[in-house]
Symmetry: C2
DNA sequence: GTGAAAGCGCTAACAG
DNA sequence: CTGTTAGCGCTTTCAC
């Protein structure tokens, strides 16, 4: 049942959701009594309770989270900033974030940064406007300094997959360099010496680190770094295709390739397939992955796993502890793990 | 700069975001003047404006969307219900929904239905609690009747990819049956006669329709329907693998396969690769797709395109027109389109 | 156990 | 052009 209200200050007349007042007057009690019953605070005569519940049911009453927010000065909302919604990567993050928030009965507000600092700022403005109690940032374009400044403001936030000096307790981190090393070491362990690399955009810290892992691993193995064995992609599928093409045409003698994202790996695979380059017999692949796309390629591709889902989950835990001012002790550092798949070339190449 | 307030009713003391009152008193004007300036209503002496803007800047003032909602009785929020966040499909929808909402300066609230009617109801409750002005439902588990009842309530909503009698103006639809027919006709046109089908879960309307398209197309071509050429998957990758296996082992003589989802197609391809079944030379494939996964398989796979992104975009347009009570005339019906890819087997099989 | 009253931050008539 | 007043729907002291 709906409440009809002659419009006050509104053009025409409208049906509006029942308010606590409507419930109160229908039940013949005061608003505050209804409020207490809803929130289960204190005790009430059982018939009062019954009357109120009946009135709520009859009016199909739903407390307004907005009014409640205003009255309690807590919005119960949490923000999540990501770069883009598309692609599956974000969905994985969001899934975990929502699951954790559901446990705490909090609302989720999402926003996209669209690959620009201004986009990310805009998203944060939105969180502030909504008076989010806190937010999780998967920020790639705000400077360390800007983030440190932001940390001066009262709203808590957590940085997902980022390291900022001075904000350690807010950072959920992953060692991309070490992950790169592990990936390349896996290839080295198989005897590969001519190892190419498709990196992500080198203006991004994490991409640079992954690439650095490649460089470090080669150095440790005493293999000279050859820049012509490397190409820079943008993490997208197409760029992986182009990069593989560029590298392979210049160096058909490569026996292995390290690709810094699963999408680029897909592109590279396509290039190899189209050009009858046998994977992994002729060229072995290792990739980064986070949503296990590499398990669905043909052949399946081994990868160092970037556990964005787990990290997202933890980010929310940390954030909530900050909102509650309970400083919990949690390991905010995630370690890379190798996921060997059967498309891996397990033969040892010897000195070849 | 933050405002310090001795706590009133709160334990301890807290730093709180500046309110319109703080701005007003710092600028030496009344709250309502500040409000007008923020909203650009009417005109003001330039020095008043300057003082106020300066005060806002100094206090780092951000109007509270929540308080505003309460005062204007419009939350500016829009809900979006999907089944799951993971998998990329949802990201594509959300991307378009957000883009359209951004144009209208509205907030987006998302929720997952988790494959149950109760989950979907819970999501809608959340939208109501937040006083969303409207919401888009990609509902798969609420009955037509329940939706019709929901339509009695004052909050407008739009159904994405669903047809409910009596709610036509709220439905953004796609002809899954026709799409299925087109897919199979494409194979028939190539001369295939032994065509297998991996359907989605047959308890879902849309899956059933896609499958029906397969049945209809065969019937029209005068080819007898053989249930042992069909297997039911759950739209997931794994199920595609299993289904392909089941069908192929029983019927290695098939020359073509219609897969009702892109993920299942990926699974089927993996089975074929592992078992040295050449695609498309030995078995031609056609698939449904919506986020163009089929373009990234090897070989690429032709598909009937289910334009969920465009549909999502339109859903928001329709919703907003309903919120504004402007009944716009829009075609809410989307047509399937074939996307032929070069992995397609273009040879004619003749009578074989 | 329940009512009265004030207030959350903002907007919207109505004066002047 | 700007101040006054009331009110959005709810919670939260404080009385009784």
């Amino acid at each position: 049942m709906l409440v009809y209200r002659p419009s006050i200050g509104l053009k025409g007349s409208t049906f509006i959701m029942a308010s606590i007042k409507d419930v109160a007057s229908l039940a013949g009690v005061h608003r505050s009594t209804v409020s207490r019953i809803i929130n289960g605070e204190g005790q009430f005569r059982s018939d009062t309770k019954r009357k109120v519940e009946q009135a709520m049911a009859e009016l199909n009453y739903r407390p307004s989270a907005i009014a409640r927010s205003l009255a309690t000065a807590s919005s119960n909302m949490t923000g999540l900033l990501v770069t883009y919604y598309t692609g599956g990567f974000f969905g994985a993050m969001m899934d975990q974030v929502q699951a954790e928030l559901d446990l705490h009965n909090k609302f989720l507000i999402t926003a996209q940064g669209h690959h620009s600092a201004e986009g990310e700022r805009e998203a944060i403005r939105r969180f502030h406007a909504l008076r989010c109690e806190g937010y999780v940032l998967n920020s790639r374009h705000l400077s360390d300094n800007e983030l440190r400044e932001l940390a001066q403001e009262p709203t808590p936030f957590v940085l997902l997959d980022r390291t900022v000096e001075g904000l350690e307790s807010r950072c959920i981190t992953f060692d991309h360099t070490q992950a790169g090393v592990m990936a390349v070491n896996h290839l080295l362990g198989q005897g590969h010496k001519k190892i190419a690399c498709i990196s992500g955009p080198l203006n991004r810290t994490n991409s640079r680190q992954r690439f650095q892992g490649y460089v470090n691993a080669l150095a440790e193995a005493g293999i000279a770094f050859d820049p012509s064995l490397c190409a820079e992609g943008n993490y997208g599928r197409e760029s992986g295709y182009v990069a593989a093409q560029q590298i392979y045409q210049a160096h058909p003698e490569i026996t292995a390739l390290f690709s810094c994202s699963e999408e680029m790996t897909g592109g590279a695979l396509q290039f190899f397939h189209e050009n009858k380059v046998a994977v992994p017999q002729q060229v072995s692949l290792i990739s980064f992955d986070s949503i296990d796309l590499c398990a669905s390629f043909y052949p399946t591709v081994s990868a160092v796993h970037f556990p964005i889902s787990d990290m997202a989950r933890l980010a929310v835990e940390v954030l909530i502890s900050q909102i509650k001012h309970e400083e919990i002790e949690l390991n905010r550092q995630f370690e890379p793990q190798l996921r060997i798949r059967n498309g891996d070339c397990c033969l040892s190449l010897g000195e070849g």
